[in-house]
C-alpha cells in the first residue's frame, strides 16, 4: 500500500516537475506556484486542526513567523535563501510548540476558545514585529537576495519549490493520518477525555501535530517571502490566511489528508478567475456563499463526501470469527485473594461538595467487587479518580505496587486498567471496529494496527457486535452501545476492569445477556469492579461488595450480609423515626 502510494507521489512529482521545461509562460507557473502555496498551507493546517478538531485561527502567525525568519536572515545576515527555509520551519514550529505547551495544559480550553486564542496571538505577534527592529514599520525588501537557479527561470524555480513542498506536505499528512498519531488525533476530535483514558497521550500528540503543522506553514512562509520579495506586517498577519485555510479545508473535507488540497486548488482557481475578470468583489462574495452552503449541506466537505460514498459501495466483508473462540486469558491464572488495587485515604472535593472523604478500598485479584450506594455517594467519582479522569486531592492508589494517584490518565491505561462509562461515550466518527481497536493500539500491549484490528474483531464477536464492525456508533441502539463500551474496555486486555453501571437502562433479557458476558470475562482471569444499582446483578455476580455513602465506605463484605446491615438500609431508605 505504502509502496504504491510512494510510486504515485514520485510519478506525480516527476510529471509535474517537467512542466517548466515545456516553455510555459511565466504567468502560468506563478499561478500554479500559488496553488501549491495554498495547498501547503491548507494541508498543513489540517494535520493538526482538521484531524484533532482544534481549529487554529493562528495559521497566519506561524506562516508569518516563517516569512519574517527568511526575510530577516536573508537581508540582515546574508544567509543563502535555501538555508533560511529550515530556520523558518524551526522558528515557526518552536513558536507553535511554545504556545501549545501553555494552551494545552488548560483543560477547559477547547474548540472555540483555542480558535480565539490563536487569533489573538496573531495580533500580538504582528504588534511585536511591527514595533521592534524585526520590521520596525517600513517592511523588509528581499529583491537583492539572490535566488538559486533551480529551474530555467525565476518563476519556474518558485514553481518547483512550491511543488516539492506541496508533495512533501501531502506525504506527511498522509503518513500522519495512517499512523498511531493520526488515530489518536481523530479520537481527540471526538472525545478527548475518553481518548486519554484509553491510553492516548493527548497532550504530547497535540503538541507534536501542532508543531508539525506550524513548521510546514513556516517553510511556506519562507518561500512566499522570497516570491513577493516585499514583506510587510499588514499583508503578512492579515486575517486572510487563517480564514482561507479554514475555508479550503472545510470545503475539501478535513477528515482526509487530501481533502484540503482539493479545497485549496478550487478556492485559488475561483479567486483567480474572478480577479482576472475584474470581479474581485463578486469573487469574494462567492467564496463566502460557498462556505455557507458547504457547511449547511456538505458538512464533510466535497472530497470527504466523495470518499464516504465510495466506502459505502465497498462493503467490508469481515472474516468470520467463531464466537466460541474467545481470546486467551491476559496473564497467568489469577492467584486469588492477593491485593491487586489498594486505595488509601482517597479524597476529592468539587467546590465544597466532598465527593470522596477518605475512602479506603481493597480489590483482590480475580474477584468481582460490587460498588454500591445511593445516588451521589461517590461511586462514579471513585471510578473517575482511579482511572485518572480526576486527580485525587489526597490519598494513594496502589495498583500492582505502583501509585496511580500522580499518573496521567493515559499512563494509567497502560498499566492495564480499563473502564466503561455509564452513558456510553463512543468516538462518534470512528467505526465500531476502529473504536475497539484503539485501546488495543494504545493499551498495555501497544499492538500494531493490523493486530489491534484482529484483536478488536475477537472482542466484537465476544460481545455479539461482529456484524456491526463497519457501522458508526450512531447506528447502534443503547444495548449495543453499552456492549461496545464493554468491548472497548476489554480490547486492551486489562488486568482490572472498572464497569460503571453497565446494566442501567437495559431490559431484563439484556441484563441476563450482560451477566453471562461478565461471568465469561471473569472466567478468563480479569478482576472486575462494578458500580451498579441493579441489585439482582449485584447479588448474582459479586464476590464482595463495598457500600459508599457521602464519600465514605460504610460497609463491606459478603453481599447478602452487608445488604442487611442497618447502616446500609438507612443509607438507602433513610433512618426510621423511632
Amino acid at each position: 500500500m505504502r509502496q504504491r502510494a510512494l510510486a504515485g507521489f514520485a510519478a506525480a512529482g516527476l510529471t509535474l516537475s517537467a512542466v517548466p521545461f515545456f516553455g510555459l509562460p511565466a504567468f502560468y507557473e506563478s499561478f500554479l506556484y500559488l496553488v501549491f502555496h495554498w495547498i501547503v498551507l491548507a494541508v498543513s493546517w489540517n494535520i493538526f486542526s482538521g484531524y484533532s478538531g482544534y481549529f487554529s485561527f493562528g495559521h497566519g502567525a506561524f506562516f508569518g513567523a516563517g516569512m519574517y525568519t527568511t526575510a530577516t536572515l536573508a537581508t540582515k545576515a546574508d544567509v543563502p535563501f535555501l538555508w533560511t527555509l529550515p530556520a523558518a520551519a524551526l522558528v515557526a514550529a518552536l513558536f507553535g510548540i511554545a504556545l501549545g505547551a501553555v494552551a494545552f495544559r488548560v483543560r477547559r480550553l477547547r474548540g472555540e476558545l483555542f480558535a480565539l486564542l490563536t487569533l489573538a496571538v496573531t495580533f500580538v505577534l504582528a504588534t511585536i514585529v511591527l514595533n521592534t527592529p524585526i520590521d520596525g514599520g517600513p517592511g523588509l525588501v528581499l529583491s537583492a537576495v539572490p535566488l538559486p537557479a533551480i529551474g530555467p527561470s525565476p518563476s519556474s524555480t518558485f514553481y518547483l519549490l512550491g511543488l516539492a513542498l506541496a508533495l512533501a506536505t501531502l506525504w506527511i499528512a498522509r503518513e500522519v493520518q495512517r499512523s498511531k498519531l493520526g488515530t489518536g488525533l481523530f479520537a481527540i476530535h471526538d472525545d478527548e477525555d475518553v481518548a486519554e483514558v484509553l491510553g492516548v497521550p493527548t497532550y504530547r500528540y497535540k503538541l507534536a501535530a501542532f508543531g508539525l503543522s506550524c513548521g510546514l506553514a513556516g517553510v511556506a512562509g519562507g518561500i512566499q517571502a522570497m516570491f513577493i520579495s516585499y514583506v510587510t506586517v499588514g499583508e503578512t498577519f492579515s486575517i486572510a490566511v487563517p480564514l482561507y485555510v479554514v475555508l479550503m479545508s472545510v470545503l475539501g473535507g478535513s477528515r482526509h489528508w487530501f481533502g484540503p488540497a482539493v479545497g485549496a486548488a478550487g478556492v485559488t482557481a475561483l479567486l483567480y478567475a474572478f480577479t482576472a475578470g475584474d470581479y474581485a468583489v463578486a469573487g469574494r462574495a462567492a467564496v463566502g456563499l460557498i462556505l455557507i452552503l458547504v457547511i449547511l449541506f456538505l458538512p464533510e466537505g466535497i472530497f470527504g463526501q466523495a470518499v464516504r460514498a465510495l466506502e459505502r459501495r465497498r462493503v467490508s466483508v469481515a472474516p468470520a470469527i467463531d464466537a466460541a473462540e474467545l481470546p486467551a486469558p491476559t496473564a497467568a491464572p489469577p492467584a486469588e485473594g492477593k491485593t491487586l488495587l489498594e486505595a488509601r485515604g482517597l479524597s476529592k472535593a468539587f467546590r465544597g461538595v466532598q465527593a470522596l472523604a477518605g475512602v479506603d478500598l481493597e480489590v483482590r485479584r480475580g474477584e468481582i467487587l460490587g460498588l454500591v450506594g445511593p445516588n451521589g455517594s461517590g461511586k462514579s467519582t471513585l471510578i473517575n479518580v482511579v482511572s485518572g479522569h480526576f486527580r485525587p486531592d489526597s490519598g494513594r492508589i496502589l495498583f500492582e505496587g505502583r501509585d496511580l494517584a500522580a499518573l496521567e490518565a493515559h499512563r494509567i491505561a497502560r498499566t492495564g486498567l480499563a473502564r466503561t462509562y455509564q452513558i456510553p461515550r463512543p468516538f462518534a466518527h470512528l467505526s465500531v471496529l476502529e473504536n475497539v481497536a484503539l485501546p488495543a493500539m494504545f493499551g498495555r500491549d501497544a499492538l500494531p494496527r493490523a493486530e489491534a484490528e484482529s484483536e478488536a474483531r475477537r472482542w466484537l464477536a465476544f460481545t455479539g457486535l461482529a456484524a456491526k464492525a463497519a457501522a458508526l456508533p450512531g447506528e447502534l441502539n443503547l444495548h449495543q452501545r453499552k456492549f461496545l463500551e464493554l468491548a472497548r474496555a476489554l480490547a486492551s486486555r486489562p488486568g482490572l476492569l472498572l464497569l460503571d453501571e453497565v446494566f442501567s437502562g437495559l431490559t431484563h433479557v439484556e441484563i441476563d445477556d450482560a451477566i453471562r458476558l461478565i461471568r465469561a470475562i471473569r472466567a478468563q482471569g480479569a478482576t472486575i469492579v462494578f458500580v451498579e444499582h441493579v441489585i439482582r446483578a449485584v447479588m448474582e455476580l459479586t464476590d464482595r461488595i463495598v457500600v459508599l455513602s457521602y464519600g465514605r465506605v460504610i460497609a463491606e463484605g459478603d453481599p447478602r450480609a452487608v445488604m442487611r446491615e442497618p447502616d446500609v438500609v438507612a443509607a438507602y431508605l433513610g433512618k426510621p423515626h423511632a
Binding site: 494552551a103 480565539l116 487569533l119 489573538a120 496571538v121 504588534t127 455557507i292
Partner: protein, 284 residues
C-alpha cells in the same frame, strides 16, 4: 521617557473611556448571542458596518443621523430574526456558526464594497463638530452620545433580563433550552426575538461608528479582536460585562498609547485576553 502631562493623561483616559464604550456597545449583541443562543456571530461586525454605511447614506440624503435609527433598528431586527431562523433551520453548531457567520461577513463586506466602493467615507453631520469643554478637557458630542447609548442599552438589557418575565424566560433558555421548553417557554419565538435584538444592537453600534469614525469595508476586521477580548473578559451572556471590560481595555490602551507608542496598543487587549483564556477558561 518623559511623563505625559496631567491634562494629556486625563484626555487620553477620557478617550479610552469613550472608545471602551463603543467596544462595549459592539460587544453587547455578540455576548448575548454567544452566551444565550450559543452562536458566535462574526457577522455582528459586518452588520454594524452595514448599519454605519446606511446611516452615512441616509444622513447624506438629509436625515438627522439619530433619526435614521427609526429605519435601521426595525430592518436590522428583521435581519437578525432571519439569520437565527437560518441557523435554527439547519441546527448549526456553535463552531459552525462561527464559520457560517464568517461567510456572511465576507458577503456583507463585498456588498458594502460594491455599493460604496473601498474608498474611505466620512459622514458629515451637525454632531460631528460639536464639542464641550469640561475644565481642561475636551469632549466631542458623538463620543458622548456613544457612551450614553452604550450605558443605556447595556443597563436596559440587564434590567430586562433580570426583572421581566420575558427576560427570565430567556435566561432559562440559555441555561437549558429543552427544560425551558418543557416548562412552557416558547424557545423558538424567544430565540428569534433575542437574535433580532442582537442585530438591532449592531445597527445602533453602526450609528455610533458612523458618527465618530471614517468608514472603509476593510475596517470590519479591525474591531474583531478587541471586541472579542471585551466580550470574553466580561463573561458571556452578561449584558454589563462587555461595557465594563470594554472600558477597562479602552483605558489601558489609552494609557499604553500615552506612555509608549500608539502602535503598541493592540498588545494590551490581546495580552489581557490571552491571560484570561489561560488563567480562567471556565469563565467563557
Amino acid at each position: 521617557m518623559a511623563l505625559p502631562s496631567l491634562t494629556l493623561l486625563g484626555q487620553s483616559l477620557l478617550s479610552g473611556l469613550f472608545i471602551g464604550a463603543l467596544y462595549g456597545l459592539l460587544g453587547l449583541g455578540l455576548s448575548l448571542s454567544w452566551g444565550m443562543l450559543r452562536q458566535i456571530n462574526l457577522a455582528h461586525f459586518a452588520l454594524a458596518f452595514l448599519g454605519a454605511y446606511l446611516t452615512y447614506q441616509l444622513a447624506g440624503a438629509g436625515m438627522d443621523p439619530l433619526a435614521t435609527l427609526a429605519v435601521i433598528v426595525p430592518c436590522f431586527f428583521a435581519l437578525g430574526v432571519l439569520m437565527h431562523w437560518l441557523f435554527a433551520r439547519f441546527s448549526v453548531s456553535t463552531f459552525n456558526s462561527l464559520l457560517v457567520s464568517f461567510g456572511l461577513t465576507v458577503i456583507i463586506e463585498a456588498l458594502i464594497q460594491w455599493l460604496w466602493t473601498a474608498d474611505f467615507r466620512r459622514m458629515e453631520s451637525a454632531y460631528g463638530e460639536a464639542r464641550f469643554r469640561i475644565g481642561a478637557l475636551y469632549v466631542a458630542l458623538p463620543e458622548l452620545l456613544t457612551l450614553a447609548m452604550a450605558v443605556a442599552l447595556s443597563f436596559a438589557t440587564w434590567a430586562a433580563l433580570r426583572y421581566t418575565y420575558l427576560g427570565k424566560a430567556m435566561r432559562a433558555i440559555a441555561e437549558d433550552a429543552p427544560i425551558a421548553a418543557a416548562f412552557g417557554i416558547n424557545v423558538r419565538a424567544l430565540s428569534l426575538l433575542l437574535s433580532g435584538l442582537c442585530a438591532a444592537f449592531a445597527g445602533v453600534a453602526g450609528l455610533c461608528l458612523a458618527l465618530s469614525y471614517t468608514l472603509a469595508p476593510g475596517q470590519i476586521y479591525a474591531w474583531l479582536g478587541v471586541v472579542f477580548a471585551a466580550v470574553m473578559l466580561g463573561g458571556l451572556g452578561n449584558p454589563l460585562g462587555p461595557l465594563v471590560a470594554g472600558i477597562v481595555i479602552g483605558a489601558s490602551e489609552a494609557l499604553t498609547m500615552a506612555f509608549t507608542a500608539p502602535a503598541w496598543a493592540p498588545l494590551v487587549s490581546f495580552s489581557l485576553l490571552i491571560v484570561v483564556l489561560l488563567a480562567r477558561p471556565g469563565r467563557v
